[in-house]
Symmetry: C2
Subunit: 332 residues, 2 copies
């Protein structure tokens, strides 16, 4: 997979540390129970951008004022954050009954739901073991709070299924939980183990939160074809799962009586036919709901940059600001 260029500066600066994080990840996937490294390895090897651990490492580097070598605790923390993320992916795929993720068959499609639930639990437990190794109770407090908030966000998302008349504030509370808080905690605790004081940890918390929100807003917009370049990407997963995301909420608010009937049928009753997704995109485009979603993402990107305005100018700071832009404009 190709990276969007604007993530490259951060990738370059953290590259060596990230290869150490990788070693920690592979090491801690080990288990006498063979199925565990097999299944978890399938997912984790598939890769993804590793944005969360990268932010964790970067925040620790800024805070320790050493971009050569992050503190050992930051490596554990970065691996831990990636484990939590992958645990939630495994459980999400069970919940969504997804067959594909990142262009590969999902673990649940290959090994069954049972294995995905259990290996998710294993990754979650291993994540806590890794956190304990940082030997910092404050870090444990922040990350266990984040873990609880993630599941609250997911449960809230579930309870919004099929309700196109949901509020924008509900959407933001969902994405903060399911995505924002883990980015936030990754950056915040990374800063802490790098020696950041409470102001700096806070700055990184809000940076991560805003970047994570931007990332999720874009993800949700891309599912309705936000970009011209999405060749080969499946669209419409959220629509077919009756997930209520920002483009839908914005569209519902503008919709005519007849259009609301359409949303009621397709998203509340779940009665979908051929051509409905195209019709949904038509209404969404009619009211410029993708552009308006992107505006929300841009606000978050600005918020992320402002949050770390306090840190002195450096290549790494520039790379972090670019990474936030990348998150909010993912394939422009």
């Amino acid at each position: 997979m190709s990276y969007n260029p604007s993530l490259m500066p951060l990738v370059a600066i953290t590259q060596q540390a990230m290869s150490e994080v990788n070693r920690v990840i592979l090491d801690r996937l080990q288990s006498d129970v063979q199925l565990i490294p097999q299944l978890a390895g399938h997912l984790i090897a598939a890769g993804g951008k590793r944005l969360r651990p990268m932010l964790c490492i970067a925040a620790s580097m800024v805070s320790s004022q050493n971009i050569k070598k992050p503190p050992r605790a930051a490596l554990y923390l970065a691996a831990s954050v990636e484990f939590i993320h992958n645990a939630t992916l495994l459980h999400d795929d069970v919940i969504d009954s997804s067959d594909q993720r990142r262009g590969k068959q999902t673990a649940n499609a290959l090994w069954g739901n049972e294995a995905s639930v259990l290996v998710g639990d294993f990754l979650f437990a291993r994540a806590f073991e890794l956190m304990v190794e940082t030997n910092d109770i404050w870090v444990l407090e922040k990350l266990s709070l984040a873990a609880a908030q993630i599941t609250e966000g997911e449960v809230k998302q579930m309870s919004m299924l099929g309700r196109p008349d949901s509020q924008i504030s509900d959407y933001f509370s969902v994405i903060k939980g399911k995505t924002g808080v883990l980015f936030a905690a990754a950056a915040q605790t990374g800063s802490k183990v790098g020696g950041g004081d409470s102001d700096l940890c806070n700055a990184f918390y809000y940076y991560g939160l805003a970047l994570g929100n931007a990332f999720q807003i874009m993800d949700d917009a891309l599912d309705y074809g936000a970009s011209q370049r999405q060749i080969g990407k499946d669209l419409g997963d959220d629509f077919s799962e009756m997930k209520i995301t920002l483009p839908i909420i914005l569209a519902w608010q503008e919709s005519s009586y007849k259009e609301r009937k359409f949303w009621e049928r397709t998203l509340r009753a779940g009665n979908q036919q051929d051509g409905d997704f195209e019709k949904a995109r038509e209404i969404i485009n009619k009211y410029s709901c993708i552009e308006r979603s992107l505006d929300f993402a841009t606000s978050e990107v600005n918020r992320a940059s402002q949050a770390i305005a306090v840190i002195p100018k450096s290549k790494l700071k520039d790379a972090l600001i670019e990474a936030a832009k990348f998150a909010g404009l993912r394939d422009s």
Copy 2:
């Protein structure tokens, strides 16, 4: 539900502390996302014996030499252990597709698998938040290790499904993981927050491990009707799910060629017909596999008593020894 009398002394001594543990549990179930306290409350209110938190409290009382009032950290820890246990129950019910637990409809039957997976994750995260409040990194280390071992045990159990020719040692490794280690960690960490030294914490670890093993061996034997008194209890769940437990492993080892064909058909191929469960019980009884299972349980009970032989005589010590007997002879 009626308690077996032999658990009563422990229940009586820990009663007041356990009502405080209950308050912590109810308090920490709260969430702005309504479905969470609803669903988790359904399970936790259904009760069960709360053996794990009770052992945690008792170990802290022995170790602090104060049976009037356990340390505050022990209350958090006890609630935490109960949360972990209930998280695994929620996930197990998804995995087993169970409709009933403790005589009530399961959460997944009422709210769907998605909710059970997520609320299980929530309880798990809350458990870690509670542990953090003990402010004891050693406790966190032991409990996060236990959490990882629980899932390893469950994955191993899953990979043994349909394999009646499994080894007794594999069975013991499964039950140590899925049941023993949480009892062990509950007692061990309870002792620690009560001020127990490393010998005492160790003694409680092995006490809990053996008691938990005894508990699981009995549970597995009861599913084949170990007791005359099991009126109203569903039998045969393990058989219909092709779970390989001790009675089956023992029976397989003695079985004739023809009997092995029967096990192959029913447990490996999963081709089960009316009358097969009765036939299974016949073979199991022919080779005294229930009695021999109970002998294994008795060994564990003895091991539990021996583990805490070091602690000075007291009513609480007697109650703990009786509790181990209860676990190994659950409705005699």
